[in-house]
């Protein structure tokens, strides 16, 4: 499968994580005029949703956001007479 045209990835490991407030995070990805996007998150020892003022230990989070244009249609091959 073809690779994304644009992608952002981040990975974090922490011995302890404490959320002081409920996080407000948005993300978006896309392609125009035609394309597709996707996001993938891997979490370890961090429930969804996370609780405020709770200490989470040995946390691992990996996130990837990507988008790509629609694949161009293959060019038509000329026939034997040289006509498309």
């Amino acid at each position: 499968m073809r690779e994304p045209d644009v992608e952002i990835g981040a990975s974090v490991e922490a011995d302890e994580v404490v959320f002081r407030e409920k996080p407000d995070v948005e993300e978006q990805a896309g392609a125009a005029p035609e394309g597709e996007s996707g996001a993938r998150t891997e979490r370890e020892n961090l429930p969804r949703p996370a609780e405020v003022n709770v200490t989470y230990r040995d946390v691992r989070v990996s996130h990837r956001l990507s988008a790509r244009l629609a694949e161009p249609e293959p060019e038509p091959e000329p026939d034997d007479n040289g006509e498309e």
């Binding site: 045209d5 644009v6 011995d15 996080p23 125009a32 691992r60 988008a67 694949e71």
Partner: protein
């Protein structure tokens, strides 16, 4: 540690931002409205416009981390975009009329942005005229700014349209912007037009005849006694005037003192040289064309200022102003 997925192995991206490891013992993060993103945009006229991107927005984040180790990765690949652009250019190459349509689209877009009057404001290309057409020889309406004096002024009927409005007459509802444009053009052609400068009306005076002017110049101002042949009086080419330097009054000037110190035969030689010089000047003035009155007045003013004779300069400035057209 988990690695952010970087796509299929074996192909390097065109843009790569790699933050391999960041280690922090303890960090408190408090973020308010942080946005991060990457986008790729490509356009070919208005035939093609494509974009692809990813954005992350952190509205409010407040957390504490201890024993942190982080990585970040940004990848952009241009192969697909380049392939699309190549196909578009191939299509345009095979169908050049697409560019004309693209130009029409751009013009329509500009008209939509500028408003309905844009078409009138934009200069339009005029159709080419045949060589024999007399209009093809017509000068441009507005010549370039510079020393070129441009075409002749407009005929008199143009000026009659610029008279001061009579309050008893109905108001002229012409477009004021067009009036400003015409005024600018008119100022450029004739900056001393009396209709534009009504307060100068009636100040034009007849030029003084040349012989009368020269006579007055030789005699000097009427209220100044003739001192040309008095001992100690400075010639017009002298740099000091006794009116400004009273200490010099009555004292022979340096040139006269130098002349007195010279031997007699040398003084005779100098006298002959000066006489020959005056004769040459007279013959040259007969050969050369007569200078115009304006040049003469300007020369007189320069001479008066060189002499630093304030009173004579004031008189000559008045004479010069009288000679300027339109005053």
């Amino acid at each position: 540690m988990n690695q952010p997925s970087g796509g299929a192995a074996g192909e390097e991206p065109d843009v790569l931002l790699d933050v391999p490891v960041v280690k922090v013992d303890e960090v408190e993060i408090e973020v308010d409205e942080l946005q991060a993103g990457v986008s790729l945009h490509a356009a070919v006229l208005d035939v093609l416009s494509l974009g692809v991107g990813a954005d992350v927005s952190l509205g409010r984040v407040n957390l504490t981390l201890r024993g942190v180790e982080a990585q970040a990765l940004l990848k952009v690949r241009l192969d697909n975009v380049a392939q699309i652009i190549d196909r578009v250019l191939t299509t345009v190459d095979a169908n050049p009329e697409l560019l004309a349509r693209a130009g029409d689209g751009a013009r329509e877009a500009a008209r939509a942005v500028e408003g309905p009057d844009t078409g009138r404001a934009l200069p339009r290309a005029e159709p080419a005229r045949p060589r024999g057409d007399p209009d093809a020889q017509r000068l441009p309406r507005r010549p370039h700014v510079g020393r070129d004096s441009g075409p002749a002024p407009r005929p008199p009927e143009y000026r009659t349209q610029r008279r001061r409005p009579d309050p008893r007459e109905p108001r002229d509802d012409r477009d004021p912007r067009r009036e400003r444009d015409r005024r600018a053009e008119h100022d450029w052609r004739d900056p001393w037009d009396h209709d534009e400068w009504p307060d100068l009306r009636g100040r034009r005076v007849e030029r003084e005849p040349r012989d009368q002017h020269e006579r007055r110049d030789r005699q000097g101002p009427l209220d100044e006694p003739e001192r040309r042949h008095e001992r100690g009086h400075r010639d017009r080419r002298d740099h000091w005037d006794e009116d400004e330097r009273p200490s010099l009054r009555g004292r022979p000037d340096a040139r006269e003192r130098r002349e007195e110190r010279k031997p007699r035969d040398e003084r005779e030689h100098d006298r002959r040289d000066r006489r020959d010089h005056r004769d040459q000047e007279g013959r040259r003035s007969e050969r050369e064309p007569r200078e115009r009155p304006d040049d003469l007045a300007a020369g007189e003013l320069v001479g008066a200022l060189t002499r630093k004779s304030v009173r004579a300069g004031r008189e000559l400035i008045g004479g010069v102003l009288k000679r300027l057209p339109g005053i």
